[in-house]
């Protein structure tokens, strides 16, 4: 008796939905066991990480605040991931987008809100696009893998950030901390929509989820992206240009990351400091895969990952698990979702009479 993978005639829709759910459940189980073995209260760590942020209303604002950038960035990434053009440098585009928007704010200190806010947001999108445009040039002109160039540009972006907030843009009243001066009232958005727990970025995330839903499900562009990813020759035959797809998907993912960056700095921090790059750009990769590269899935996955961020902090204070807890859970989740992918295309079968095959495999 042995287990064998057998190719399905068609990908299983049930598994497409069930495997992300199973990945979250398995992550919780495995997490409980590991933390128990490490000497913590394993079940409590899981409870605090995954459940407390959902059942405790005072945590909701936190969750939505964290979910907004994750969803916005992951929406941008899903098109590229569908086309198999891998932008893993959203973190850098997020930083450069925020810096571009901030630079514009400092350049026009007296502008009223109705000018400053749109200009900063447009600048954020533009900055992210420029940062993603470099890998696009390298890929379409010189065949440089975008996996390497996007990732390496993250580190360049970090150095740009360090330089600006420690040098030219350093806050003169900041007690020598590496940070920019605070944005003026005309340059900021509120933490939350007054009277609710919803941050403005989350509204943007909801709107963009709907836009991307239409884009992926109905538009010729979304169709072209899927075709390029699955069958490049068929895409060429169908009239879809491969390098145009490289450009457009990188521009969209870069622009979205830049948008998330500027929104975060305008509404939550009110400035840019050393702690600004918080890993959203990397976590969004997990969000896009956990969401099965579908806008609605990405929306839900963004909320789940936001829960683990907030819950990770709760578990730190309540169960005293280490700071890396949330990161461990997020990585475990990605491993499970990628590993369980095989179940969508293959089914497991128990096979009797493995003797002959075993004999065949033995050295002669």
């Amino acid at each position: 008796m042995r287990i064998r993978f057998e190719k399905r005639l068609a990908p299983s829709r049930f598994m497409l939905v069930a495997t992300p759910v199973a990945s979250v459940v398995l992550t919780m189980l495995l997490g409980a066991i590991i933390f128990q073995l490490l000497g913590f209260d394993g079940p409590d760590a899981i409870w605090q990480t995954f459940v407390t942020p959902i059942v405790a209303p005072y945590k909701w604002q936190d969750v939505l605040t964290k979910a907004a950038p994750l969803i916005i960035i992951a929406l941008g990434l899903l098109l590229g991931n569908q086309a198999k053009i891998w932008n893993i440098g959203a973190e850098g585009q997020y930083v450069i987008g925020a810096l571009t928007g901030a630079g514009l704010a400092f350049a026009m200190p007296g502008a009223p809100a109705f000018v400053a806010i749109p200009v900063m947001i447009a600048g954020g999108i533009f900055g992210g696009m420029v940062w993603a445009g470099m890998p696009a040039v390298l890929r379409t002109r010189f065949h440089v893998s975008e996996v390497l160039s996007t990732l390496m540009l993250v580190y360049v972006a970090m150095q740009v950030l360090n330089y600006l907030i420690g040098g030219p843009w350093k806050d003169p009243n900041g007690h020598n901390f590496p940070q920019t001066p605070p944005f003026t009232a005309a340059q900021t958005l509120p933490h939350v929509i007054p009277g609710t727990v919803i941050p403005p970025g989350f509204l943007v995330a909801i709107a963009l989820t709907l836009v991307f839903w239409v884009l992926t499900a109905r538009s010729v562009y979304g169709f072209s992206v899927r075709t390029v990813g699955v069958a490049p020759s068929a895409a060429r035959y169908g009239g879809f240009d491969a390098s145009r797809t490289v450009w457009s998907t990188l521009m969209i993912s870069g622009g979205m990351a830049g948008l998330a960056g500027i929104l975060e700095s305008m509404s939550q921090l009110g400035q840019i400091n050393l702690g600004f790059p918080s890993g959203y750009g990397f976590t969004a990769i997990i969000v896009s895969f956990l969401g099965r590269l579908h806008p609605l899935g990405v929306f839900l996955a963004g909320l789940i990952l936001a829960v683990t961020y907030v819950g990770g902090q709760v578990a730190q204070t309540v169960v005293h698990v280490p700071e890396a807890t949330a990161g461990i859970f997020q990585a475990t989740m990605l491993f499970f979702i990628l590993a369980s992918d095989i179940l969508v295309r293959y089914r497991l079968r128990l096979v009797r009479g493995a003797r002959r095959a075993a004999a065949a495999g033995a050295p002669a």
């Binding site: 057998e6 190719k7 399905r8 005639l9 068609a10 990908p11 239409v214 109905r218 538009s219 010729v220 562009y221 169709f223 899927r226 075709t227 699955v230 069958a231 020759s233 068929a234 060429r236 035959y237 169908g238 009239g239 240009d241 002959r356 095959a357 004999a359 065949a360 002669a364």
Partner: protein, 521 residues
């Protein structure tokens, strides 16, 4: 009483299943020593699965394989070779950048020194009157010569059973004759040959016995010399053959699709460059392009469809309008549709539904799109219409393209293009790997399209297909297109020579090609 020697190979009740299909169902088969035994059947009948079990690539689920009367456990190809079973595959496994001898050395189980190997190599060449230069780099060889490497590789083992999988599909008529000589010599020396094909006249010319497979089962054994091609064909497809009906009098209109001195560099290192291709297909005409695989057919198709842009607009002309610099979608909107050779991943996306595959090429011509959005209702309706009009066997427009059989998917693809009413249609290998029923439906659809005034260009390696289907024919070799001939006036010998004749002497082949393919200025 004289005891008869056991057969060289005997299969008893051999079965093999894959998810969703029973590829072989209780197959019984006997091959005597020195016999040339044909294994005949349509694509999907189970021929390849059966020989893969004999050669040890697949393990049978049930049944026994006896070799020289003894039960054989063939767990891998190495074990098969040890028994004396050799196989020449349809798709060669050769390293393009290495020499003939290096390729042969890599395929051998035994370790021989360079000198021993060379001596063995020449022994085989002499014994079977084969020509092959051991020092040539494979990428410079013709397909016929490449096949000879595989044959020599198999013969070096002194096989007692040689399996040949569709060996003639890539050969010129002259090369086919040479191959048959070799096979007859082998069989005279006592080697049995299991010859897989669906080309009936070859089997009549070559084989002693034919076993016919249909739907994974043996449906009959025949003596090819007593049967006609037609009677075996009907056993093979299990129904009466349908003839294509073609109007006797063919009337052609003005030129619809033309190329003028179309030249393109090689797309890749091992690709073929197009040289001065000039052709003209008129309204209502079916124009055939014959040639051995890999002589520029795919390059020509993508230059016509727009996947590769021509150097100048005038190089490709559609209904009098220069389109050489237009892209795929623009050409399609002007009425130039194309069907490339490879169904999966090129002409269709296996992972997509038929509806999405209808959108792949039909979205603009059939007006599925408004404001950049695809109307799924219109796409589904169109896919259903194609399925209905071309009797495509599928669960519906939502079926994945990859779930259809080759013949049904090809019917869908052809239908998708034909129902867009193209001014000109370019198709490559329209019936490659397609069952006989689907093939005749596709041929009929091409004839009907031309009767409605479209120009059709058919690229095929199957000369018989072109001669029955086309009005005019030209031959492509080394990226050059020959003069255009009327079908019926062109002789098979002449076409064979234009296809490259007998390969072996590259400089003479190039010279011959340049002479034969030269255009009158």
């Amino acid at each position: 009483m004289k005891v008869e020697a056991p057969p060289r190979l005997e299969l008893v009740g051999v079965s093999k299943s894959f998810p969703g299909v029973r590829a072989n169902d209780a197959i019984n088969l006997k091959v005597r020593s020195g016999e040339i035994h044909a294994l005949l059947g349509e694509n999907g009948a189970g021929k390849s699965t059966l020989v893969k079990m004999i050669y040890g690539i697949l393990a049978p689920d049930e049944g026994q394989i006896l070799f020289d009367g003894a039960l054989a456990r063939i767990s891998n190809p190495r074990a098969a070779r040890r028994l004396g079973i050799g196989m020449v595959f349809q798709h060669f496994s050769l390293f393009e950048a290495m020499t003939v001898l290096e390729n042969i050395a890599l395929g051998l189980d035994a370790r021989l020194s360079q000198r021993e190997l060379l001596a063995e190599f020449h022994r085989v060449l002499d014994a079977y009157h084969l020509k092959l230069d051991p020092r040539r780099i494979v990428s410079t060889l013709s397909v016929g010569e490449r096949q000879r490497i595989e044959i020599v590789r198999a013969l070096l083992l002194d096989p007692r059973l040689l399996i040949m999988d569709e060996p003639t599909s890539v050969l010129t008529p002259q090369e086919v004759e040479q191959l048959f000589e070799t096979l007859r010599r082998l069989s005279a020396g006592g080697c049995s040959i299991l010859y897989i094909s669906h080309k009936l006249h070859e089997i009549v010319a070559l084989c002693d016995t034919a076993t016919i497979l249909r739907g994974g089962k043996v449906v009959g054994t025949a003596d090819p010399r007593r049967e006609t091609s037609r009677s075996m064909a009907e056993m093979m497809i299990g129904a009466n053959l349908k003839e294509i009906t073609k109007p006797a009098e063919r009337i052609f209109g003005p030129p619809k699709l033309e190329t003028q001195n179309l030249s393109l560099p090689k797309p890749t290192e091992f690709g073929v460059s197009l040289k001065d291709v000039t052709l003209c297909v008129r309204a209502g005409e079916i124009f055939g392009v014959a040639g051995v695989a890999g002589n520029g057919q795919n390059e020509l198709l993508s230059a016509l469809s727009g996947e590769t842009l021509a150097p100048g607009a005038e190089a490709v002309i559609l209904s009098g309008e220069p389109v050489g610099r237009l892209r795929v979608t623009e050409r399609r909107n002007l009425g130039l549709c194309a069907v490339p050779e490879e169904r999966h991943g090129h002409a269709a996306v296996s992972e997509f539904s038929l509806t999405d595959n209808a959108s792949l090429t039909g979205r603009d011509r059939m007006a599925f799109v408004s404001f950049g959005l695809i109307d799924p209702g219109k796409a589904t309706t169109y896919a259903s219409e194609v399925i209905g009009a071309f009797t495509v066997k599928a669960t519906g427009p939502g079926a994945l393209a990859g779930s259809l059989s080759g013949g049904n998917l090809q019917k869908f693809i052809m239908g998708r293009e034909i129902m867009q009413h193209p001014e000109a249609l370019v198709v490559c290998q329209p019936t490659w790997g397609v069952d006989a029923g689907a093939a005749s439906a596709i041929h009929q659809a091409i004839v009907d399209l031309s009767a409605r005034g479209s120009a059709v260009l058919v690229v095929s390696q199957d000369l018989d297909e072109l001669l029955t289907l086309c009005d005019t024919i030209a031959v492509i070799n080394l990226g050059r297109l020959s003069k255009t001939m009327k079908v019926g006036e062109a002789s098979i010998e002449e076409i064979g020579l234009l296809m490259g004749g007998v390969h072996g002497d590259p400089s003479a082949t190039i010279e011959l090609t340049e002479q034969l393919h030269a255009h009158p200025v």
